[in-house]
Assembly symmetry: C2
Homo-oligomer: 206 residues x 2
DNA sequence: TATAAATGTAAACAATTGGTTACTTGATTT
DNA sequence: AAATCAAGTAACCAATTGTTTACATTTATA
């Protein structure tokens, strides 16, 4: 049966279109008209369901964070030895950024705006708390197994794992110009991933 | 003598105001009127000297790159042993990002726009070529001194040195929320710098 | 089945935007 | 000192923007 009305699908379409629009053009550059056109809904519906452009952005960035944290939990890193778990996490983080370039763009936008949309989001804070705990448990296990150094700060390790992927991909356009090579060709990408794994493993090894 | 007209100072004021405006609000979010007000010049002067908002942005981002590359050259890393040279470079990069947060924001904006303003800038490419050469020479020296591993890719090393500082500072707002600590308090900043030096030195060591 | 609530459309609005026009004032040159 | 050009001002414009108003239609419910 073909329903002529479908509020859930309308909301989903708006959110998906908004995510791409905000990621491509930033918060200021994004156009509500364009979001409506891509989502194939009347512009009025955006205000009906999401109140304002600003609030729509808030929901988009919140969902983006919850999505990546959820994907990380699915890795089931508890079942691996510490070294494999850490390598898996580095690989995952890289691949996630590579497959979801919108995530990086959205995080940049949110930081340009001093994270004002995320400030009130308890859910995102909790999801991240679990994530830091996960990395801490890998570190503990690595120490017990005699593989990792003691006293490594899990937050700084987390940040570095993200950083070495994020920066490369975020700055792929300026990078490809100033380094005079295509940073996005598959050979360069593979090489970078291996480089990153090496960086992290050397950092934690005894 | 007080000159009522001073084109050089007018241009300088416009460029300085534009740099801050673009860094704070991005290319789309920046307002030509605001740049004119901050620079204390008539809006007409911006178009007189810089043609368009877009072209003004181009000059701002070009100058930003030339400035950092120039500052790096002043470090005179050739006179240091390889390990000290590399540590100095990591410290410098961190401090430069810390003291010039506009640089990070501008690079983000340029990447959001697929680096279209930098594409035609021969000068920036040349400046960066010198920079990669500098890092390569440090690596060579380190190998000769028996301190560094062989075959380290200078471009990926460069990218990683930048990444570990850039990401932390770029995402300081979202980071302070999701990690539930002020990433910008001086203790956290010192700790991060030491962490980064350790990361790079462990990466290159034999 | 009548009715109210939810879902949707079209058009318009007030404010803002990058950019321009028409004009004035100061400095330099011959 | 006249003339010419560069530097500067104020007001305005057409286009675009996020948001709203007024209205129509579908769906669920009493």
């Amino acid at each position: 049966m073909s329903r002529t009305r479908d509020p859930e699908s309308t909301k989903r379409n708006i959110l998906a279109a908004a995510k791409m629009e905000f990621a491509t053009k930033g918060l200021s550059g994004a156009r509500v008209d364009d979001i409506a056109n891509v989502a194939k809904v009347n512009k009025r519906m955006i205000y009906h369901y999401f109140e304002s452009k600003e609030n729509l952005f808030k929901l988009v960035i919140e969902k983006a964070y919850l999505d990546i944290r959820e994907a990380e939990l699915k890795l089931n890193l508890e079942h691996l030895d510490a070294k494999s778990a850490l390598e898996t996490l580095v690989r995952f983080t890289w691949k996630y950024y590579l497959d979801n370039p919108e995530f990086i763009r959205l995080v940049n936008s949110e930081n340009l705006h001093h994270a004002r949309h995320l400030k009130t989001s308890k859910e995102v804070v909790q999801a991240n708390r679990n994530y830091v705990g996960l990395v801490q448990s890998i570190l503990d296990r690595g120490v017990r197994e005699g593989e990792f150094r003691d006293q490594i700060d899990p937050v700084n390790l987390n940040i570095t794992i993200a950083a070495i992927g994020y920066y490369y991909l975020n700055n792929r356009f300026t990078g490809s110009i100033i380094f005079e090579q295509d940073l996005m060709d598959s050979e360069a990408l593979d090489k970078r991933l291996e480089f990153n794994i090496e960086t992290i493993l050397k950092l934690v090894s005894r």
